[in-house]
Amino acid sequence: MNENRIHTEVTQWLGQHWDPNMDLITWRSLVADSGWGAPSWPADYYGKGMSPQDAAMVEQAFAEYGAVGAAQSGVRMLAAVTLLAHGSHEQKQKYLRGILTGEDQWCQLFSEPGSGSDLAGATTRADLRGDEWIVNGQKVWNTSAHHAQYGLLLARTDWDAPKHQGLTYFIINMEQPGVEVRQLAQMNGHASFNEVFMTDAVVNRDDLVGVEGGGWQCAMTTLANERRSFDRARDVGGRKARKGKIFSDLEEEFAIANEPYTWYPQRAGRVDLIMPRAVETGAINDPATRQDIARLHIMAECAKWTGDRAKAAAKAGKPQGPEGSLGKLAASNVARLASRVHTAISGNDAMLTGPDSPMDGTIAEILVSTPAISIAGGTDEIQKNIIAERVLGLPKEPRFDDGPFRDVRRNTGPAADGTN
């Protein structure tokens, strides 16, 4: 389809249906059923089978018209991508619509206290009893689990299979007695994540995604798309000023959806605040601080240009070079250094927090949030392993976790085989 035809068709459809005084769910139901909410999805499942490029034009036509599109924030898009790739026909029919309309919230139930970097070491168990899977175990770092109707669950179903092959992927209903969600307070005062305790929680047999023992592949699909969903979540600007019930509903949704992420910019170090703060405090006149500021500026610019190089190479159809794998590690280094420079600039004020801290607490929030960036979404150490092995081609470390999982030494300490 050419650009103009897509634009015309979308604009026509919006002309016939768009009404900012509708409520958000009603409108998004129309959008979902029309296929314009997720045009790159298959036509059988609320899409139009379009290429990503064409789908981007649809999105642009919505934006130009000033109309609201399908719900896209949070973990819901990870659920959609995973279900589209691995789900059954019935699962796609049952769940995808609620994702697009925004009626259903989703969370991810992967990490455990004993399996963080070593995600495949998960020991939450699911046992088949009749037509139901009975789930027992504990998950952690579950963003938005306290709002979610559904969870993407990774659980062990076969203790005799090797580590990665005994895991199965499920959709679990979060609103049931066997599931308890507790918010997890962070050192920066926010509570963006939860712990989820499952005690004889029930999963319907039809809610197994993919095949039994194929959970690891499904989880990889989810994680590969994790970064993209965060980018979407922040795409809020510009819409707020508009009038109509839809927009007030939308604002409310964004407030909830983005609540876990409000400190993320501070986590990245807020390099943008360095110069204004240096000028405001006079630190810009201190030769030693100037060197620090310059070092940070150099690192941040180089990181940005390296990302730009990766994007441009991809656009030009060149094979991905090393520059494409380094962004996360570079971001950790930038954040760490930015935190140090903010401290140097703020001097004594770096000891304060809340409204007493510069910029109504923003500076303090930077200082206590940056340690997260080198942990979340894969620690720096795991990133370095990946870079060393996949980019530089270095050999893997010897491993001690092959063979039946039952016999593998556990991460949670000694003893406890899967049977008890």
């Binding site: 150099i298 390296t306 190089r309 893997k396 010897p398």
Partner: protein, 388 residues
């Protein structure tokens, strides 16, 4: 910015890489670095004429190939990778830019074709004692005698390839300020003494001048020293990226071959993580060097820069110099460490690049000086914007 090279540029790089791999193995580097001249005339002629490298960025009507800073940067990067021994940086880079910036049309027509063809080799003599170029550092004087002849008196140090240059471009003070002057290497009153450089692949000399007859390069814009310094830093940064990449590659290869405790040492996280860090450093440095080369290429006529262009060029050049020189040295030190005892031997090639890295760290100004220069350009820009 050039985020990706064009297929033509990739091909150009491949051809230089093949040439240097064939002609400049480290056995050849070691042979040439032990000589006083430091280079091979046949090879110089091949590089200049067969590959047309010496005139790559000089316009076609002045005998060059008519490409720009990007292609020159590619050539420098590849030469840095192989530690090419020859007066390329001094003549094709420093002197050609000095002439393009400061020489008038007649002077350019006289000298640039011969520089482009490699038939004559020139060098640039600015530094006296300071690490970073500054007008205050220049004590050499240019006096016009009664017969109208300009004569230079003073001394210059760290003149790259000064001992083999046919032509020297010298910065000197005249009553009207700092300017650039041409002197010939056999001019009366000039004595050239080679220096013992720690990096034997880049020869340097001192000049002593007593009433040496000189020609003034007459189109010297006020911004000349700063623009010339920026160009020098940018091409040096690209040269350094090539060397850093070569060192990283050597570490990656060696640690995989070296077995201890029954396993390749590259399988230890203690090694893998360091190599991953080095890769990140090298790629960030590469981005700085490439961006700076693009900024230089975007400038057009360097003698006619707007203030905004001048500031951006200064910022990106000093950013690249500071970033890449620190990375180059770090990779060199890590490469020695990752090779263990063998890395400290004369026989192992690592020290060849380490010494180039060490010398390049200081050449044209230390990283700290360039961080300050970059930040000054940035804050000057910010102040101007606020005032406007």
């Amino acid at each position: 910015m050039t985020l990706v090279f064009t297929p033509d540029q990739d091909q150009f790089r491949d051809s230089i890489q093949r040439f240097l791999k064939d002609k400049m193995p480290t056995t050849e580097v070691r042979r040439l670095m032990a000589t006083q001249r430091g280079f091979d005339d046949d090879l110089w002629q091949q590089a200049s004429q067969q590959l047309a490298l010496t005139g790559i960025h000089i316009s076609e009507d002045l005998g060059g190939a008519g490409f720009g800073a990007i292609e020159l940067a590619i050539a420098c990067e590849e030469m840095g990778r192989s530690l090419f021994c020859g007066p390329y940086f001094s003549s094709a880079v420093l002197s050609a830019y000095a002439l393009m910036l400061a020489a008038d049309q007649d002077q350019q027509e006289q000298w640039l074709p011969e520089l482009a063809s490699g038939d004559i080799r020139a060098s640039l003599a600015i530094t006296e004692t300071a690490t970073i170029w500054s007008a205050a550092d220049i004590q050499t004087t240019a006096n016009t005698s009664g017969d109208g002849q300009i004569r230079l008196t003073g001394s210059k140090h760290f003149v790259i390839d000064g001992q083999t240059a046919d032509l020297l471009i010298v910065a000197a003070q005249s009553p009207s300020g700092v300017g650039l002057y041409l002197i010939e290497s056999d001019a009366p009153g000039l004595s050239i003494s080679p220096l013992n450089t720690m990096d034997p692949t880049r020869k340097m000399a001192s000049l002593t001048m007593a009433d040496v007859p000189a020609i003034e390069l007459s189109r010297s814009p006020e911004s000349l020293p700063s623009t010339l310094l920026s160009a020098a830093c940018i091409l040096l940064a690209n040269e350094m990226v090539g060397g850093a990449q070569q060192l990283l590659q050597s570490s990656v290869e060696y640690t995989q071959l070296r077995y201890q405790f029954g396993r390749s040492i590259a399988s230890f996280q203690a090694i893998k993580h360091r190599l991953a860090d080095l890769l990140l450093d090298v790629e960030l440095a590469r981005s700085a060097a490439y961006q700076a080369a693009q900024t230089l290429a975007d400038c057009g006529d360097l003698a006619q820069l707007s203030q905004a262009q001048q500031r951006q060029l200064t910022e990106h050049a000093s950013l690249a110099k500071a970033a890449v020189s620190e990375t180059y040295l770090k990779v060199a030190l890590e490469t020695i460490q990752l090779h263990g005892g063998i890395g400290f031997t004369w026989e192992n090639d690592t020290h060849l690049w380490f010494k180039r890295a060490k010398a390049s760290e200081v050449l044209f100004g230390t990283p700290a000086e360039h961080r300050e220069r970059m930040l000054s350009a940035m804050t000057e820009a910010a102040t101007k914007e606020n005032a406007a």
